[in-house]
C-alpha cells in the first residue's frame, strides 16, 4: 500500500505533493538505482575473486529507505553517520562513487588508504562519519558533532542523521546514544531499518515490544513507522523528520519495515529466510515500486528510465575501470602512525 496522497480529478491526476517533492523523489530514485548497479558490481568483483579482500555487504532492497534519508542532507552542512546498508544514502549525501570503490579495493587514493575497508569509510571532517564495526556506537558520535556545533554557535539549521538495523537496537550503545541525544534535544534523525533479520537472527529473538517504534515514546522523542519499500512514504517521513529536527523538536526516530534482498554479506545465501517471506509485501523490490510510481505520476516515462539506466551503467563501469588501476598500499611507504602527535608514537626512536 502506498502512502501517496494523490487525488484524482476529472481527467488528469493532480499530485498533492509539495513543490520540491518530485525533484527530491527523482534524485532519490537516481541514487537508489546507482547504488543498486554499483553494489551489483561489487558483488561481481567479490565473486570473481582477487581484487576485493574481505567481505561485501550490500543494501539491496533498502535503497528507498536509505536514499530518502540521504537526500534530506547537505554535505558540508549536515552530519551523517551511515551504517552497513546505506550505499544509496551515502551517494545521496554526496559521497563520490570513487570513495566506495577505492575503499573496497583498498586503493591509497581513497579516504581510508587501505587501512580500513568496505563499508567502514567516511570523511569525518566533512561531517561524514566513518562507522566502526561495533553496531550502535556511531549514534552518540553524530550526537556529539551536533552538540559541539551548538556549543560553538554554528549549528544553524544543520541536522544529523544516522541509521541502524533492527539488531543494532539491542545494543547498550544504541540505548545510551538515543537517550543522550534526547536529553540533549539534538536535531538528529535516527532511522531503524527493520529488515526482520540481524544476520540470521529473526526479530522474535531480538526484541519483545510490538514494534520498534514503541521505543520512541520511552526516549521521549517523535517516532514513525513506515513501509520502507515505498519511496514516497519514506520521503514523506524523512522530510517531516528533517523539518521537525530543524524546528528544534529534538531527535526523530523513523522505523521502516522491509526485507533484506541479499545475504548478510555476499558470502551468505540467507537460506534461513523462509521462502514464504520472500513473497510478502515487505519483500517487494523498492526500485521497481519507485519506478512504477514515478511513471504513474507522470514524473518520468518508461523510456526515460531506460536511458537513465544505461547512463548509470556506463558511469559505474567507467569508475570501476578507473579505480581498478589505482595504486594499493605499500607497507614500506605506510607511515604507521596511530597518533597525530608523531613524537609520542612509541617505537619512533627505537633502533
Amino acid at each position: 500500500m502506498s502512502a501517496s496522497p494523490v487525488t484524482t480529478t476529472s481527467k488528469r491526476t493532480v499530485s498533492a505533493y509539495p513543490a520540491d517533492f518530485q525533484e527530491q523523489y527523482l534524485r532519490a530514485f537516481h541514487f537508489m538505482r546507482l547504488s543498486r548497479v554499483l553494489e551489483e558490481k561489487l558483488g561481481a568483483l567479490y565473486r570473481a575473486g582477487g581484487r576485493i579482500v574481505g567481505g561485501v555487504y550490500l543494501g539491496k532492497g533498502q535503497e528507498a529507505f536509505a536514499a530518502a534519508m540521504g537526500v534530506q542532507l547537505r554535505m558540508g552542512k549536515d552530519v551523517y553517520g551511515p551504517l552497513i546498508r546505506d550505499q544509496a544514502g551515502r551517494l545521496a549525501f554526496g559521497e563520490p562513487m570513487t570513495d566506495c570503490l577505492r575503499t573496497y579495493l583498498g586503493a591509497v587514493t581513497g579516504p581510508m588508504k587501505g587501512r580500513d575497508g568496505n563499508i567502514h569509510r567516511g570523511r569525518p571532517r566533512d561531517g561524514y562519519m566513518a562507522m566502526i564495526s561495533h553496531l550502535g556506537s556511531l549514534l552518540s558520535v553524530v550526537a556529539g558533532a551536533l552538540f559541539a556545533r551548538r556549543l560553538k554557535g554554528t549549528l544553524g539549521d544543520s541536522i544529523g542523521a544516522t541509521s541502524v538495523g533492527d539488531g543494532a537496537t539491542s545494543t547498550g550503545a544504541f540505548h545510551e546514544g538515543m537517550n543522550l541525544a534526547a536529553v540533549e534535544k539534538l536535531p538528529l534523525i535516527v532511522s531503524i531499518a527493520n529488515n526482520q533479520y540481524a544476520y540470521s537472527t529473526p526479530n522474535t529473538r531480538q526484541y519483545a515490544c510490538d514494534n520498534l517504534v514503541d521505543r520512541a515514546k520511552g526516549y521521549g522523542v517523535h517516532g514513525e513507522h513506515i513501509d520502507a519499500t515505498d519511496l514516497a512514504a519514506c520521503l514523506t517521513a524523512f522530510r517531516g523528520a528533517a523539518a521537525r529536527a530543524k524546528a528544534g523538536k529534538g531527535p526523530q526516530i523513523i522505523v521502516g519495515t522491509l526485507l533484506r534482498l541479499a545475504g548478510h554479506g555476499e558470502h551468505d545465501d540467507a537460506s534461513y529466510i523462509p521462502d514464504k517471506k520472500r513473497h510478502t509485501h515487505e519483500a517487494r523490490d523498492c526500485i521497481d515500486v519507485a519506478g512504477k510510481f514515478a511513471v504513474a505520476q507522470g514524473w518520468a516515462t518508461e523510456a526515460d528510465l531506460v536511458t537513465q539506466m544505461e547512463e548509470i551503467r556506463r558511469l559505474v563501469d567507467q569508475t570501476v575501470a578507473k579505480v581498478s588501476k589505482e595504486p594499493v598500499p605499500d607497507p614500506f611507504k605506510e607511515s604507521w602512525l596511530a597518533l597525530s602527535t608523531s613524537e609520542l608514537v612509541e617505537g619512533q626512536n627505537a633502533s
Binding site: V79, P111, M112, R115, D116, H120, G122, R123, P124, R125, M129, A130, I132, S133, H134, S137, L138, L139, S140, V141, V142, A143, G144, A145, L146, F147, A148, R149, L151, K152, G172, A173, E176, G177, N179, L180, V183, E184, L337, A338, L339, S340, T341, E343, L344, V345, E346, N349, A350
Partner: protein
Amino acid sequence: MSGSITYLEAIREAQYDALRNDPAVFLYGQDINTFGGAFKATKNLGKEFPGRVFDSPISEDAMVGLAIGAAIEGARPIVEMQFADFSSIGFNQIVNQAATLYWRTETPCPVTIRLPSGGTAGSGPFHSQSMEAIYAHYPGLVIVTPATVEDAYWMLLDSVALNDPVIYCEHKFLYYHLKSESIGERSLPIGKARIARPGRHATVVTYSAMVHDAIRAAEELQLDGYQIEVVDLRSVKPMDTDTILGSVARTGRLLAVGEAFPWGGVTAEVISRVASEGFHLLDAPPMRLNAKDTPIPYHPNLWKAHRPTVASIAGALRSLLRY
C-alpha cells in the same frame, strides 16, 4: 600562588585554566555541574563557565561517543568518569572509536578522559581499579599517570592541548593527601619520565601514587646505606625507555612497581623492555611487584595487603640487593 594546593585542587585549577584559555574546551560527566563532581574536581566550574560544564546521563559509552563527535568538530572535551572502574562501559568508544579515528581517517581526536583511579581503603572491587595498562595496550591512545601536584596540573593542560585522545589517570589516594606549596613551573613534557629520587644501588620504576611509597621505601633503605633511585614514569604510554635504561645503567638492578593487577601490565612492559634492550646492564634478575591477582578487597586489613606497600617494596628491594 601562595598557600598550599592539593593534587585534587590542581586538577580543578587545570580545568579552570583550560576552560578559560580555550573556548573549544567543555566538560562532560556525571554530577559535575552544580554538584561539582563526586570528588569536587569541578567545583564551581559550572558557575564560572556557564554552558560549558554538563551533567551527563549515566552513559559512559555515549559520553565518550559524544566527546569524540565533538572533537571531530574541533571541540576539546574533557570527560570525567566518576570512577576509573566505570570507564569499562565506555571501553568500546575509547579503544575502537577514539583510538582508531586518526589512523583510519587522519582526523585528530583531542579528547581527554579523566579516570579517578586506584585504591583507597573501603572502596572495594568496583571503585578502586587502575585501568592504565588496559588502555595502554591499544594503539592510538596516550596514557598519563601524574604522581605530583605539579604534574597533575601541567599534564592535564598538556593532555587537553594534545590532538590525540588521552587517558588521564588521576590517583584518588593523592587527591587530599598530596599537597604542594604551589603548582610550580612546568617541568617535563608528556612522554618523559622523571628521576624522582637519585640513587646508585637499585632502580625502582613506578608511577602514580606508588611513586610516593617507593620513595618512602627508598628512605628506609637509606638507613642501611643503600641509595635507591626512583623513576616516575609520568606517562605509561608513551613509556620513556631511555630514562629507564639510563637509570638501570647506573644501578644495575631493577624493581618495577605498580598498583594494578599482576598479569601483564605496565610493570611487565618495563621489565620486558629492560630485558630485551638492556640485559647487559643488569646485575640481577629484574623484579616486579604488583597487587594480588584477586579483585580489590573492601576491608582495610585486606586492602593494605592486596597492594604493594612501603614495607613490601622495601622487602622486594632487599632481596633484589642481596642477589
